[in-house]
Subunit: 407 residues, 2 copies
């Protein structure tokens, strides 16, 4: 597997475009389109929130129908959630716009939205945006990057990646883009992510791999514990790589899954590090837990705790907060087995050893905590399962961003 330049347009047959449709933001792009020259098999994971945005329901229908997917239209600024029938009508109008301009069936067009909940989308601007983008579709790296930037809201960095993997002598490419900074919490596919690949793969197998990979990547990050109404990951595979079609488990299945996993973990970590107001990436690695489920529960509780997040912001090795979060996570364990370490590029330090606090060097702890990425490593000493979760620190800027997001 090899990381290459680019994002969503890296795989053969994928084009992208973006435009400034003026939906809510001014003086910036706010719509993106991804298009595959060939119909794709698709897989998706969607928010577990009971209050699903209209576009999430639209996309779930397409993915479940088994029909091909060929395009995705995304807007930022307004989430099209809590919008009743008018919200569904906006999805259909957008998809029908693509049918008109590109001649693909409207039910092969996915739509996605991110932004304020409870506002209606301006349908005329959406349709005009679709017309503009349809004429500009391009397979260059730049077109993919511009599309990725158009869907940012409170994000401060663009998040895209592409990798190549050899399957039976053929080069298969996977490219992805994602956005997400706030209203981000595990147990779903977090926020918006779009992955295009030229792999030839069976639809059911693709969904199986996507669901597995999402569980250990996007579903292991949190920014604020708020599971969005709009979380969507869509993966489209158009088969242009010409590899022997992946239809069952085996070497190709594993190689493709490893490559997709790299793409998803990379995008997920960038999302966590770019959490609203974040100043650093906060990683929790739990090892030797009784079960995989426990390891996940524990690591997510650590990165999800407001108090732990504030301690990471303050570079305070206040390890009791991390143990406290583990304690209320729902996982059962004996604190007398636990070893807890702080770790970063600046070193590693044990602070709690099997039930008892260690008197540690505060200067060394501060040095470790000052790094851009800080890991809390917890050895449960109760089994062999492990898991890693990613989050970010809780800062003044998180509060600032969210105290007046609508205005």
């Amino acid at each position: 597997m090899k990381v290459i330049d680019g994002g969503i347009t890296a795989a053969k047959g994928f084009k992208a475009a973006s435009t400034a449709a003026g939906i809510k933001y001014q003086n910036r792009t706010d719509m993106a389109m991804v298009y595959s020259t060939e119909p794709c098999v698709s897989a998706g994971t969607f928010t577990s929130n009971v209050v699903k945005a209209a576009c999430v329901q639209w996309d779930m229908n397409i993915v479940k129908s088994g029909k091909p997917m060929q395009a995705v239209v995304i807007n930022s600024g307004i989430a099209n959630a809590c919008t009743g029938q008018e919200g569904f009508d906006a999805c259909e109008a957008t998809a029908k716009g693509v049918e008109k301009t590109l001649g693909v069936p409207f039910d092969s067009v996915a739509v996605a939205s991110t932004g304020v909940i409870g506002m209606q989308l301006p349908v005329d601007k959406l349709v005009a945006g679709v017309e503009d983008m349809s004429a500009k579709l391009d397979d260059s790296i730049l077109a993919g990057t511009d599309a990725s930037k158009a869907i940012m809201t409170t994000d401060t960095v663009n998040k895209e990646i592409a990798v190549e993997v050899e399957l039976g002598g053929k080069t298969v490419t996977i490219g992805g883009m994602s956005k997400g900074s706030g209203m981000i919490h595990p147990n779903m596919c977090t926020m918006l992510a779009f992955i295009g690949t030229d792999a030839d793969i069976d639809k059911a197998i693709l969904q199986e791999i996507v669901s597995d990979v999402v569980a250990d990547s996007f579903n292991m990050i949190t920014v604020d514990g708020d599971t969005s109404t709009n979380d969507t990951l869509l993966c489209m595979a158009n088969g242009l790589a010409g590899n022997a079609k992946i239809t069952s488990k085996g070497a190709d299945y594993d190689a493709f899954k490893e490559a997709l996993s790299y793409v998803c973990i990379t995008l997920a970590k960038r999302m966590a590090a770019d959490g609203e107001g974040a100043s650093k990436l906060f990683e929790a690695k739990v090892i030797n837990a009784k079960s995989k489920e426990d390891a996940k529960t524990l690591s997510r509780a650590i990165v999800g705790s407001n108090l732990s997040k504030a301690a990471i912001f303050g570079c305070d090795a206040n390890f009791g907060r991390f143990l406290c979060a583990m304690g209320y996570s729902g996982a059962e364990f004996d604190q007398n087995n636990v070893e807890l370490f702080f770790e970063s590029a600046n070193g590693k330090l044990e602070v709690f050893h099997k039930g008892t606090p260690i008197v540690f060097d505060e200067d060394k702890a501060l040095e470790i905590m000052k790094a851009d990425a800080v890991t809390v490593l917890v050895n449960m000493n109760e089994g062999q399962a492990s898991a890693t979760a990613w989050g970010c620190d809780l800062t003044y800027d998180y509060v600032k961003i969210n105290a007046d997001y609508r205005s």
Copy 2:
């Protein structure tokens, strides 16, 4: 039922004292003692956190043993959590100190701690503090207030209350004090609360009433979603009111429960309003839900959401965040039945009606949100159950307080 002056010393036979033991804080009191002249039946609720502080385990043993309880010694500054065997030894040394000074059995002495997790308590200072306080025990209102103030950590206001209720012609008094501002989250008895009553009541009945009342008061507040290692509520009843002993359900049971409920809800709401960094009380009232459990889940999700809390801080009627929190709460419902209102002393405004956003007057919304206490009222229109949860806004000061709590 009548609210009267005072707190923990209001009921007959209850004395209190406090002292500056120098455990961690300087230039302030940091130890308190509550003592009943008669042995008491006791009831308690304790943290559901797997990582329980040494003092929590000590008190659980006493309450479960069925033996009388006669005193409680509390310190602030250090939580005595994650402290191994040394932590248990500190509890025992404290209780034995009381046995020596007051002549009550050491296993009738409860202990409680609040403060930093993972630091050892200085036993010599604890024992010296017990000696000092034993000589100063007093049944005045002031002694109770001073004890209540000694257990504050990041709290900014003292939280105590007392009520009288007539049971069969006898006046029964209930007095309580509590502390709590951070690391506060439902599903336990939140932080420290001590309630003294002169009611004559059966131990099992007292525990039943306490557990019921805590479920709808302390367990319905949240500040930061972090369930502490030290949460403890203890209720001591010494029987000095001379009422006919409460041994079963009936009029006296109901009257006592109503009075205790008033005490607990008052203390719980004060705790929420005084949440770390809070500028206002944030109440979520869910009505006409399918079940009581759903109503509780929904109301707690609303007040627990960082994004909702930040919107309350910013006086932003961004109702989509509240619906989003309801959606990921775990309760099932149809958004097309939901009506959502903002309400405060400044008025009431519907913003979402059965699946569709309402175009509302932003100036009126701002006026409502600017109040010291803001309620989100949600009519589910799916049943008859209701519940109320309390929290606070998420502010810059929350981050500031918690980024360097240890220093």
